[in-house]
């Protein structure tokens, strides 16, 4: 009897690819022998566009790099420009930005929980997670006028002062009990555990070698959270979530715990903002932003790992070169390693557990 291997195209339209990712798998029966990711279906040329547009024209575009966590990329671009122009943010602006970033992180993690459980075949958690996410998105819509592409942060501060703080108070008072519900349904669920515990083991040294950051690395036991040294988060009391499990289940658990930490940060920011100080921010003329000649680098802890922005300026009103680093881009590369030797039905669960989002990969 002769045996041959089977080449299987997973995607680009597969529902579990969360966008358009094509995985070229080589199978021996159900076992994966090799995996070759093929990306580029969502490429928009973000870096090329930066070289053609002035900073203020480019700012509304960057939310689209990760449309589930748009605040993070506008924050990143604003921070890089502020760093170059030596602009210090006032405490109130800092608190507002931190609060919105953490709310955005929660909404992003909630979507992930829903979509991940959907990948595993459980439909109800998807609706529960979206119900809670909806509260956050409605708040963002009320505040910024947009549900996903906010364009709310501007160079030197924010577009207008924060409003509707009661809504935020309501969100963070409801969320803990909902998280408790999720944990009751999902965390110790035997079917869920059988599909996730000891599946997709990411050894810390492999994670580092493949440049994996964020929750995925912290669930493998490495204490690396940019927020600890980020001046935006100075004065906030929170802990980085470090788990030792290395598997899909730990990555799930880490995200649940991270939502709880985010709630802590938000409630501290909220207490501060309720004191109702006057908003102080430096107004800079957006039509004439010129960064001094040089190279500027800034990084931030985005929901899907370390995100960074590099700008090289020659003193003109637009960047000479702008480069984004996104977490998902490296997670896709990790699939080459992580899926080999696994079964096809586990592949979907493992790829899902890494929280890959394709607009971030393709930029």
């Amino acid at each position: 009897m002769t045996t041959t291997t089977l080449k299987l195209n997973l995607g680009p339209q597969h529902p579990s690819t969360h966008g358009v990712l094509r995985l070229l798998l080589e199978l021996d029966g159900e076992k994966i022998l090799s995996c070759e990711p093929d990306i580029g279906y969502l490429h928009r040329g973000m870096e090329k566009m930066a070289e053609k547009l002035s900073y203020i024209k480019y700012l509304p575009l960057v939310d689209r790099i990760d449309y589930l966590a748009g605040f993070f990329y506008s924050e990143l671009l604003c921070r890089t420009v502020e760093k170059a122009l030596n602009i210090e943010l006032s405490d109130r602006v800092r608190a507002i930005r931190t609060m919105l970033l953490e709310l955005n992180r929660i909404s992003s993690h909630l979507l992930w929980i829903g979509a991940f459980l959907m990948d595993l075949g459980a439909t109800s958690p998807f609706f529960y997670a979206f119900r809670e996410r909806e509260m956050i998105l409605s708040y963002f819509e009320k505040l910024t006028g947009q549900r996903m592409m906010y364009n709310y942060f501007v160079f030197g501060g924010i577009r207008k002062d924060i409003e509707f703080l009661d809504d935020v108070q309501k969100i963070i008072s409801i969320l803990p009990e909902k998280l408790h519900d999720y944990e009751r349904i999902i965390t110790e669920n035997p079917i869920f555990k059988r599909r996730c515990v000891n599946k997709g083991i990411l050894e810390p040294e492999i994670g580092l070698n493949y440049s994996i950051t964020g929750v995925n690395l912290r669930a493998s036991g490495i204490d690396y959270d940019i927020r600890k040294n980020d001046y935006l988060y100075q004065g906030f009391d929170f802990a980085a979530v470090i788990l030792q499990g290395k598997d899909s289940w730990s990555r799930y658990k880490a995200r649940i715990l991270e939502i709880k930490e985010s709630i802590k940060i938000i409630s501290q920011a909220l207490d501060y903002l309720k004191k109702n100080e006057k908003l102080e921010q430096k107004h800079i003329n957006p039509l004439n932003i010129r960064l001094p000649e040089g190279e500027y680098y800034q990084e931030i802890e985005a929901p899907r790992g370390l995100a960074s922005c590099y700008i090289k300026s020659t003193g003109e009103d637009r960047p000479y070169r702008l480069k984004w680093r996104t977490g998902s881009y490296y997670s896709v590369n990790l699939l080459r390693k992580l899926l080999v030797g696994e079964y096809l039905n586990d592949a979907i669960a493992i790829a899902g557990s890494l929280d890959i989002i394709l607009p971030e990969v393709d930029k």
């Binding site: 040329g45 580092l208 070698n209 440049s211 590099y310």
Partner: protein
Amino acid sequence: MNFEEFFSIFEGCELKENKIIIQSKLYDVIDFVKNNYSFDILKEIIAVDNQSLGIELIYHLYSTIDEEDLFISFSTNNSEASSIVNIFKSAQADENEIYDLFGIKFIGNNELKRLYMPENWQGYPLRKDYVQDEMRQNWNDNDNT
């Protein structure tokens, strides 16, 4: 971090602001700092087209033990550089992207392919001499496959 040993082994390297600028031996340098200074993660490779000065590759390393960043800069004039995939597997992603957008051939990396651009696309979009000419504007996938 003390780089004295580094500068005594690799001559001709200079420290400029926070970047170490090297002229040659890219592979050896990266290998050395990984093994001797515990830089265990390659965050990214940044490519910049400096026109007459060649294309600059900035290797951004980080040590999770010492919590320190390191930038190593290497400029190439002939669109070639040695691949470091054997040291950091994440470099596969970076090198492929730079090959696609800047046209740098990484010697030793056999898996380079077009990533975002069509397979038979001419030119490298992030180079400064790239122009959006008529041929590129009227590009049609169906005519060119």
